[in-house]
Symmetry: C2
Subunit: 463 residues, 2 copies
Amino acid sequence: MFLGVPFSIYYEEDALPLLLSGLISISLGLFLWLYFKKRSSNKELSNKDGYLVVTLGWISMSLFGMLPFLISGTIPSITDAFFETMSGFTTTGASILKDIEAAPKGILFWRSMTQWVGGMGIIVLTVALVSIIGVGGMQLFVAEAPGITPDKLKPRIKDTAKRLWLIYSGLTLSETAFLMFGDMPFFDAINHSLTTMATGGFSTKNASMAHYQSPYIQYVIIVFMFLAGVNFTLTYFGLKLKFKKVWENEEFKAYLSTIILFTIVTTVGILIYTDLPFEQAFRDGAFQVVSVITTTGFITADYTSWAPILTVLFFFFMFIGASAGSTAGGVKIVRHVILFKNSFLEMKRLLHPTSIIPVRLNKKAITQNITFNVLAFIMIYISVFVFGSIAVSLTGVDFLTTIGAVATSLGNIGPGLGKVGPVDNFSDLPQMAKWILSGLMLLGRLELFTVLILFTPYFWRKV
Amino acid sequence: MFLGVPFSIYYEEDALPLLLSGLISISLGLFLWLYFKKRSSNKELSNKDGYLVVTLGWISMSLFGMLPFLISGTIPSITDAFFETMSGFTTTGASILKDIEAAPKGILFWRSMTQWVGGMGIIVLTVALVSIIGVGGMQLFVAEAPGITPDKLKPRIKDTAKRLWLIYSGLTLSETAFLMFGDMPFFDAINHSLTTMATGGFSTKNASMAHYQSPYIQYVIIVFMFLAGVNFTLTYFGLKLKFKKVWENEEFKAYLSTIILFTIVTTVGILIYTDLPFEQAFRDGAFQVVSVITTTGFITADYTSWAPILTVLFFFFMFIGASAGSTAGGVKIVRHVILFKNSFLEMKRLLHPTSIIPVRLNKKAITQNITFNVLAFIMIYISVFVFGSIAVSLTGVDFLTTIGAVATSLGNIGPGLGKVGPVDNFSDLPQMAKWILSGLMLLGRLELFTVLILFTPYFWRKV
């Protein structure tokens, strides 16, 4: 929050809301820390503690993170402020601000920071600590230092986390430089870079990226959105010029192919259904496809205005997600890869009922447990989408807006369909709908299990 | 086809189209039979042959089944006639006939027969022969005669099939009697009974069941739709008064609870959003819920006209389906039961990563293979829904109509959303869309794998 203060001063705004919010957060944090420091038993955190800490952590970050919005009066309603902050920390990017450009710069910087911090959090969580499906950060130092032992693991996790943060910060600064080179003012450049690398999508402009008609700027954003959707472990290998490792990774290949394929499809669609010239059709297509697939949510064009088929396509795009181990939300490409392979192999299994036919990823057979976990994840994702849609519908929102809002919140994307389409925003939704959607953002960001597991009897049962 | 001739004569219509179609089908069939009889090697059919025979069988039934429509001129277009016939044999019930009541009675009877025959076919397939998930007909005679041996199996399959057909025919006739008791004319009663028991939903009236405002008739239809959605093996036990066996069956319990729960929800919804009196709200709710869940597709009210939330709900209802081993299409309740249990257990697995935790159904642990198959089925179902929607969208159909038409075709239901909602029909869709939807009906009816397996390299590879 204090990082926004220089901007408040430079733009001659009231810096008090940010200072005050920062002080409140620090004091309460200090108090809790000191109070529990003596009483804590210094025990190692268990698996179970992990789930609780992460979920509660994200919620309390959002509770404190909304202070600057409330105190400054930029967002007077608690519902709206919580929605906006949760949308920030979960790197969703759905906004209830109707006139973004009228908000104080310091507050807007804090708004962008929530996304950047949220993205960082996810990298540490999924890349360095929890490698969901064997493709996370663990592989990074296992590959770097063979013969690793458990007691050497901890410093190395810290080490890995540091490297990844370095890449993250480095890419953010490079993007800022590239954008300024295209004549974007420094304030906008740094803000958009923070939210690009987090695949967040908060903009400092009312029209999002459509504000900048410069093709150069739009292409820069496309490239960095794409990079933000790559597994950061692979980016690390890429920077070390180990391109073979990158190219051999099946998820990366699938990610790249998905983007290329859907960009072509969308471009052709735009050319058929509208009168746009080729370069703009391609640029608009590529930008929107990369933005939705990477779950960033910047927009330069309204994807619901081209043609019905493209609206349908973009709705389904919301269920794809980029790479595991990136800042992107959603289902993630690697899960789709496993899903499709497994579905295909199921037919082979039907023809050869006695043989055991495992799914292979990166040339290795993956265990049945992982396949199960992936299928369960996707099924729960769809169930949450269904029940979330029913819940939001109950608040009186129409069908198209409902499924768009739920898909985009759960996938941490940003823009949806209908009344929450790319050129609209979420402010007019009923209060209850905003709370439900905030919950869905959290569920999606923490990959469902982390949150849902707290609601099972297994979690609370004493061993 | 010949069974329709008496109606043609009674109603003084031209009986020639039915006679001619029947003769053409018989002659071609006889010719093929005689020609291949000598040349066939009398080999047992393999698993692979089974998939091919069933898929091609359903397609050729539809090709010959459309002859009466074409020859009589009731449906002049081949696309429309094929769509209507496939919709019949797959027990879908989506129709392109704009003025059903103007069609000759003999032809309408044949139209209803396609559904009844299709329903029969499915019972034989899934109940007597292929017991998808261990809850099929096999259990019937295993339960009846312990210590069964493979060479005794064949006559018993025949025996089982006979019993099931007897129940099917018996229920159809009872329904006819019940409907006539409510003053429905014989012709309409027999037609609606044929299509109820098949969970098909073709009606002889333009307004479907809304034509009959008699609550008695509507309740009779509700009861028989419900029965048609029960596993026929359980119905057999029920008729033998072995109620414990019925009540202990988890799928039956889930089926009943689903219907009750969603009827309550829908009734409450109708009461809140419309001015209908309680009894009619309950009747309309129950009728539409049972109709969509059992994938029958009769309607007495427009479920898309009540409120946005109820439209959303009914869209999701299309993905439920009734019991395995009934004539219903769709995903089927037992798969949802396994899915939900597995999703829930996945969290337990996360907390106890070293233990093996299987899904239990009817108090028995089911094998991982079955769980895999169920998850793969549901995932492929959703993928087919997605790709089907994209394909239909490409023909220029709007979003809501597209997803409604695809969901209802794939689930073999009948009415959809938007322009193919309960009070509309499919005639105005583009030709291409009709072909795609016909294909989806077939895919759904034959439980995906049977058809899709033909398109894998594994199927055509020589062993």
